[in-house]
Symmetry: C2
Subunit: 406 residues, 2 copies
């Protein structure tokens, strides 16, 4: 009789945000009168900007007319969007060609699928705490080794601990990895990496022959000119880095679904095989392109009016971030992030563990956040709040937390 | 230094339709004056139906308003759409629950990704000829064995030859497989399977402990009441079958992107592990849901007006299918399919091989089709035409072919 993928049995519990959703729903059922404020899952609340809405209406109209109808999209993305993306890189001083850009339905899919083009025995390095998708997708693919309960870690991963001691930036691991996942501005800690430090990582990866999978989903929140927006701003990154980007956080596309991944043609494995051609093959075989309507929405993001409108949204969320940060600091909490990132990473007071803080915040203050330990063993004792709520809710949540901890 | 996925090196050439696109583009460059008619790739030409366009406009409007904005969708699909799909199954007499339906961005993605929840050593049975995605996705996952050039086949696959001799319906293989890919109405042959014969396959799969991955993307084209629309119309299918469905061909969503997969909760592996829970975990970890706007479009397909409009589109394409079939038969060609399916599978005349027929049809008759050998060794000597063109182009293409072969 048939067997299933045995690697799935090594996954720990359910996906973090599903667990949170279950706990929240259970509380709501027993307390239907309570109005919860959600600063947990990184979902945005501001509507899609007017110029993007206009572009989507126009695209919908095209789809209803025989002369302008669009069937199958090019697997790798429409030229108009790949050109706009390559243009943005040019403006950042990075030379990324259109055929190095692969349009997709979002950064989560790409983050999970990118490991498929690597060798099954590749050694994987991840930060701790970390966005769970990098970890889980490699568990499913069989690269994790066994789960070690006493360590709260997988035996075969190379963990790079990000702690208060190292300012939440990873250090080079002792053992050489093949794949290194980095995310800056970081989810969950909201911390950034300097261009100088990122250059060191690029040099390190080139030296040992590893690939950095660089998740830049939150680059739009960077205001500090010393913080790089792309890994390709570092010299030599084209031979050692893949970059994943999202429209979810810069333009509020969490429910619209659009992202892209850059795989430079100069990135080659030990046998000289082009990773760009492997990803093109994976995309062409296992994916059928993002919807025309959605790609037109993505194009509108790059228009002058679109840029103006999304900058206003980002400023709105960063005002929230500052409010949370300052509010929590004012009552003596230790707070990280929230400056060049929409995430605030706070140290749970009184030595509380992350899930206790989650449960108490939910049931006593009626605010939903994300327990730091859900992002890895090193996240224990920390807690993530997001700036993606409405300003009114953000203010109310901070007031609730202040009153609760007073 | 890092290595890439070695399985990719076993892939033969590029994805079939990419090769065709390259050949067509090369011809167009040297013959810019020629107007080609494309009956090759299975892409539709009729615009999206009015009631669906209306639903998408309304959904776009919602996304631009703070009170009706939708962020992250539920990973597995919105309830409104899963309910509509489960309702359609109920009308067909199949008891499929909402939580057995997984909404996705299309049948191609699901066809390629579904193998991930199976054991890495699972034995795979495919028809020959076959939709290349089943073959290539399992090559990438390492289940194919080596490519054997002399046989034009992979060493570890179990091939079920579909030929004129067996009416293009597969027979039970001699060796027991773990995964069996079946597609009816068939792509590429356009042939169907009777309910009685499909019941035999379900009984066989249950007996040997295999899973049938049933691709029903073309079910909307069935008019014969004896031909099943779903494998769940056979008794016992819930313990041995996964069904993949598409909105691309029934509602013209090739550029809109929507599909779904049914994984019954009763489907369990040798250790009693629920395949439904594994697919839910894969979906939740590696995917972030189909866009709200697109799921609302899917809902509109199930409305009374939507059903009326898409039935007209299907009738339009089936009129094309009949025209091709009758036209080619009138000049003495041997033709299969095109009755309960939008594909016409013709035998190349004069013992011509498939790619020669493709090249001559392209350069001499200026019609683009798909060489049968692109779908597998047993497709050699055959050729696929699709009914998805406009009626005017379909008529013109048939006249060109008639004139060319006269």
């Amino acid at each position: 009789m048939f067997h299933s993928n045995t690697n799935y049995q090594r996954l720990q519990g359910s996906y973090l945000f599903s667990t949170i959703a279950r706990k929240v729903n259970a509380f709501k059922e027993t307390h239907p009168e309570v109005e919860l404020i959600r600063l947990g899952i990184g979902d945005v609340t501001q509507p899609i900007a007017p110029s993007i809405i206009k572009a989507m209406h126009a695209a919908v109209e095209e789809m209803g007319n025989p002369d302008t109808f669009h069937g199958y999209a090019p697997d790798l993305g429409y030229d108009f969007l790949r050109k706009a993306i390559a243009g943005e890189y040019r403006e950042m001083g990075c030379s990324i060609a259109e055929d190095e850009v692969f349009v997709s339905d979002g950064a989560k899919s790409d983050s999970a699928n990118i490991q498929e083009i690597f060798h099954k025995d590749a050694k994987v390095a991840v930060c701790d705490p970390v966005y769970p998708v990098y970890v889980d997708s490699n568990v499913m693919a069989g690269r994790s080794g066994e789960w070690e309960t006493e360590k709260n870690r997988y035996s075969r991963y190379i963990y790079m601990t990000c702690s208060e001691e190292n300012g939440f930036t990873p250090e080079f691991p002792e053992e050489d990895p093949d794949m290194i996942y980095l995310c800056f501005p970081n989810n969950p800690t909201g911390m950034t990496i300097s261009k100088e430090k990122l250059q060191e990582w690029v040099d390190y990866a080139n030296r040992i022959g590893a690939v950095i999978i660089y998740d830049a989903a939150y680059e739009a929140y960077i205001s500090d000119p010393e913080v790089p927006h792309s890994i390709y701003q570092c010299s030599g990154a084209e031979t050692c880095a893949i970059e994943i980007r999202s429209f979810s956080k810069n333009a509020g596309f969490t429910g619209v679904r659009l992202g892209f991944t850059v795989v430079p043609k100069a990135l080659k494995d030990a046998d000289g095989i082009s990773m760009n051609s492997l990803w093109a093959r994976r995309h062409g075989t296992c994916y059928n392109g993002a919807p025309y309507i959605i790609q037109k929405a993505g194009e509108a993001v790059y228009s002058e009016q679109g840029q103006k409108e999304i900058r206003e949204q980002i400023a709105y969320y960063m005002k929230n971030a500052a409010y949370i940060r300052e509010g929590l600091e004012s009552i003596g909490l230790t707070v990280y992030g929230g400056v060049n990132a929409p995430y605030i990473w706070l140290k749970c007071p009184d030595g509380m563990d992350s899930w206790t803080f989650f449960d108490r915040l939910l049931t006593e203050a009626h605010v939903v956040g994300t327990p730091g330990s859900g992002f890895g063993a090193a996240g224990e004792g920390f807690f993530r709040l997001t700036a993606f709520g409405t300003y009114e809710n953000t203010v109310a949540a901070v007031e609730r937390i202040k009153a609760w901890l007073a």
